[in-house]
């Protein structure tokens, strides 16, 4: 008998605020949810900026803060929120058994130092020599550690004393799906009892915008609903997002007297080559698989769709058909409210979905296109979808626990 995986702690930080209640209030209780968008700092690209965080609350030692760049501080901070939410702070025995799985992206570069070097390279007689000399003098030792993707997990171990094991997955959006999927599979199979899983992504960083811009993947100008973007050229609006979950076996949670937000029914992932129709085919197959046992009960969908033309179009058409068949009750796209959080997207969706299940209510529509319809019934099951900008298709099903 497979063991149940319970979500017992959620940490989430975004442009909407810090913690589950701030997100509930902005996304479910506001009559007309309004995103927080920065149109100017990275113009022509809009992004959803992180709200100011009082870092001292989760990273009390300033020396620790100095050893990180902002994406690591954001992740470490948000991981702290999840651990506190799960009632694990100070529980050194259990923290010592807790396994970390982080989905991480590229670390931050010192863009000012890079800029000065680039200016100088043009005038240098021997550019390669100049580069070596300047890198040696301009790079800060700590910056290297701030660039290493595995050092977010490393900092979580140091600051929060989580030391069961530590792994970092790479690979953009799908790495966030794989991280939660591996945790779910390991708990089911008895390969670990308690996990901290999530990611952090900082939007508005110029080094990251450069990388996305070179692929022509960014939406230019003021954001419109992701559901409408396929008809208008498509594109992603990035959003700063920290999302961490504490997931543990039911037995483990009950032994320490914890109740869950929700349980994980299933997580699946695949990677097509994105030939026409393949996104829809993978998602349809995944949806059929995970809802096979209770086909007649409609599922609410939290979509991580990014607004890229083909993938969003295929997902929208599939979901529209499932709504028509009565298999999906309502759809919400997280990107309309918090932007696209790359690796953190899927852990964020699972956290938000679990929150909605525990509140017995779904989020408000936030989509002027009319694709997102209101839902008055309490959702019993929520499917979270995440298709990467470039590759990867994944889905998770979470279920209410009575």
């Amino acid at each position: 008998m497979a063991r149940e995986a319970w979500i017992t702690g959620i940490g989430i930080t975004s442009s909407l605020g810090e913690g589950v209640e701030a997100h509930w209030s902005a996304m479910a209780e506001a009559a007309q949810p309004r995103p927080n968008v920065d149109l100017l700092s990275a113009a022509p690209f809009a992004f959803h900026p992180m709200v100011p965080l009082d870092l001292d609350k989760q990273i009390p030692r300033r020396a620790d803060q100095r050893q990180m760049e902002f994406w690591q501080r954001l992740g470490t901070y948000t991981a702290g929120l999840a651990l506190a939410d799960a009632g694990l702070v100070g529980d050194l025995d259990r923290l010592g058994q807790t396994h970390i799985v982080v989905a991480a992206g590229a670390g931050e570069r010192d863009t000012a130092a890079d800029g000065e070097i680039l200016e100088g390279l043009g005038a240098a007689a021997a550019p390669d020599n100049f580069l070596n000399e300047r890198l040696g003098s301009d790079l800060r030792p700590t910056l290297f550690l701030a660039q290493l993707p595995n050092l977010l997990a490393g900092n979580i171990s140091i600051v929060h004393k989580v030391t069961g094991s530590s792994r970092t997955f790479l690979g953009e959006e799908i790495s966030g799906v794989s991280a939660v999927e591996v945790v779910w599979r390991r708990i089911r199979a008895g390969q670990g009892d308690i996990f901290l899983v999530g990611g952090a992504s900082v939007a508005g960083r110029k080094d990251m915008i450069l990388q996305r811009a070179i692929g022509g993947t960014l939406w230019s100008g003021a954001p419109i609903s992701v559901w409408e973007r396929p008809d208008k050229g498509g594109g992603t609006v990035l959003g700063s997002l920290g999302a961490f979950l504490v997931i543990e076996s039911r037995d483990h949670a009950e032994s320490r007297g914890r109740r869950p937000y929700a349980r994980i029914g299933s997580v699946v992932s695949d990677q097509s080559r994105r030939r026409p129709g393949e996104v829809a085919k993978n998602l349809a197959h995944q949806f059929d698989d995970m809802t096979a046992e209770a086909k007649d009960q409609p599922v609410a969908v939290l979509s991580g769709t990014t607004g890229m033309s083909d993938a969003t179009q295929e997902e929208r058409d599939l979901l529209a058909a499932l709504v028509k068949e009565g298999r999906v009750s309502a759809v919400r796209a997280s990107a309309n409210m918090i932007g696209s959080g790359i690796e953190a997207t899927f852990p964020g969706l699972i956290g938000l979905g679990a929150l909605a299940l525990s509140k017995r209510k779904f989020f408000m529509p936030a989509d002027e296109s009319g694709f997102e319809q209101s839902l008055s019934a309490a959702p019993e099951r929520i499917a979270a979808t995440t298709c990467g900008i470039w590759r990867g298709e994944g889905m998770g099903l979470i279920e209410a626990v009575d």
Binding site: L151, S166, W390
Partner: protein, 427 residues
């Protein structure tokens, strides 16, 4: 029908049926093993880029694999493909472009490189003040698909998955210098869960650039013994002064022992145990009491279900940094006791350098070959033994010895420690 073979925890036994490797010593298992057991070094003067102003001018780069683009992602992918092809051919599993299981790949964190950055900057409108603003402006106009794809973290795994036809979304992993071992852990877990009867585990790292050297130099991690490159990597020596950065790749085909036997595969060895423990002490240093490294070794031995006395060879992490080798020796003694002094231990890194992300996979491959060949590769450059490290480091020359239970250690920056027990085929 006999009962399926299970381990001490009633899990499926994980067999290794194919291995492949590329290091600075050469391409393929045969060339590597010949060089490794002859005590040859692959460390040399860097000629890939100018070395002026660099404190360290030596490395174990892999310069003989042809690629179109000379970027870290392209080189990493190319060596990874070579190692994978060798492993899959040896295993004789699936059919070309159709590997019947998932892919777990350890890759280095890659990003846009300086030549590219410079090209964008130089093509830009100089009236834009900010350097990144300038590059973004150009980037928007050129829409360079390969540059975009190859600087995504998913690139190497995606390309391997497409080429070899592995199943599902590939997983890319980094746990710094433990990454290769972690990729194997993920494969072991998938087979033990019964998710798949086969898994492809790859570690590949060709990320030696001037900036990478400078970054590691700033952390005082690299050897500066530039004069005679072959002698720079000196694990367990009193005069060891840091690791020598290097490149390479390895691939392992893991299979459920029963299904591997059923298809008539040759079983090379068994992954008997896998264990981890994270450190919470410091970003680049281990806890002084060694508890995290000790925990990783203990968890691995416990997972393997063996007595410590059963270990007959240790493939050391053995980086040659003052800190690592001391910590590794102390932790081994804490777990294995006084007996550790009579267990041969050697560091492949004395010859191939520290292949970083790939190290755990490469050293797992060499551990398997140690069992199969009955020969232990040496620790070279052991001219000045460290009197505080009382270990049998198999100095200078390879040693004939039948081994059947090997501990392979991998410890990473960021406190990520992962070990493996690799055992001889049980039948």
């Amino acid at each position: 029908m006999s009962r399926p073979l299970q381990d001490h925890r009633e899990r499926p036994v994980v067999a290794i049926t194919g291995i492949g490797v590329v290091t600075s010593l050469g391409q393929g298992l045969d060339d590597n093993w010949a060089a490794l057991t002859a005590g040859h070094s692959g460390i040399h003067r860097i000629n890939r880029f100018p070395i002026d102003h660099l404190r360290t001018t030596i490395a174990g780069t892999v310069d003989f694999i042809p690629t179109d683009a000379k970027t870290a992602p392209a080189l990493t992918l190319a060596t990874g493909e070579q190692a994978t092809q060798e492993a899959i051919t040896m295993a004789g599993i699936g059919s070309p472009g159709d590997f019947p299981g998932p892919l777990f790949t350890a890759i280095p964190p890659v990003e846009m490189e300086w030549p590219r950055r410079r090209k964008l900057f130089d093509a830009a409108d100089p009236s834009i003040n900010d350097a990144y603003g300038r590059m973004i402006d150009v980037a928007c106009r050129i829409n360079d698909d390969f540059e975009y794809r190859s600087t995504l973290y998913g690139f190497v795994a995606e390309s391997l998955a497409d080429g070899f036809g592995t199943k599902g979304a590939p997983i890319s992993v980094t746990t710094a210098c433990a990454s290769g071992a972690t990729a194997i852990h993920l494969g072991v877990e998938a087979i033990r869960r019964g998710d798949s009867d086969a898994a492809l585990c790859v570690g590949a790292d060709c990320s030696v650039t001037a900036e990478a050297l400078i970054r590691f130099s700033l952390l005082s991690a690299l050897s500066n013994s530039n004069e005679i490159p072959e002698q720079a990597s000196k694990p367990f020596s009193k005069n060891r002064d840091g690791f020598v950065i290097a490149e390479g790749a390895a691939a392992l085909v893991l299979e459920n022992y029963e299904t591997a036997r059923a298809r008539g595969a040759k079983i090379l060895a068994i992954v008997r145990g896998a264990g981890e423990k994270a450190d919470d002490f410091h970003r680049t240093r281990s806890k002084p009491d060694g508890s995290a490294v000790i925990g990783a070794i203990r968890n691995t031995i416990e997972d393997a279900g063996i007595e410590t006395g059963a270990i007959d060879y240790i493939n050391a992490h053995g980086t040659g940094t003052p800190e690592n080798d001391k910590m590794e020796a102390m932790s081994l003694e804490a777990v294995l006791g006084e007996e550790v002094k009579s267990v041969p231990i050697s560091s492949n890194k004395s010859m191939i350098g520290h292949t970083l992300t790939a190290a755990g996979a490469i050293e797992a491959v060499f551990s398997i070959q140690t069992i199969l060949s009955g020969r232990i590769p040496p620790t070279i450059n052991y001219q000045m033994p460290d009197p505080t490290i009382e270990l049998d480091v198999v100095p200078h020359d390879a040693r004939d010895a039948q081994t059947s239970m090997i501990l392979s250690n991998s410890f990473g920056f960021g406190g990520q420690n992962a070990c493996l027990v690799i055992a001889a085929e049980p039948a």
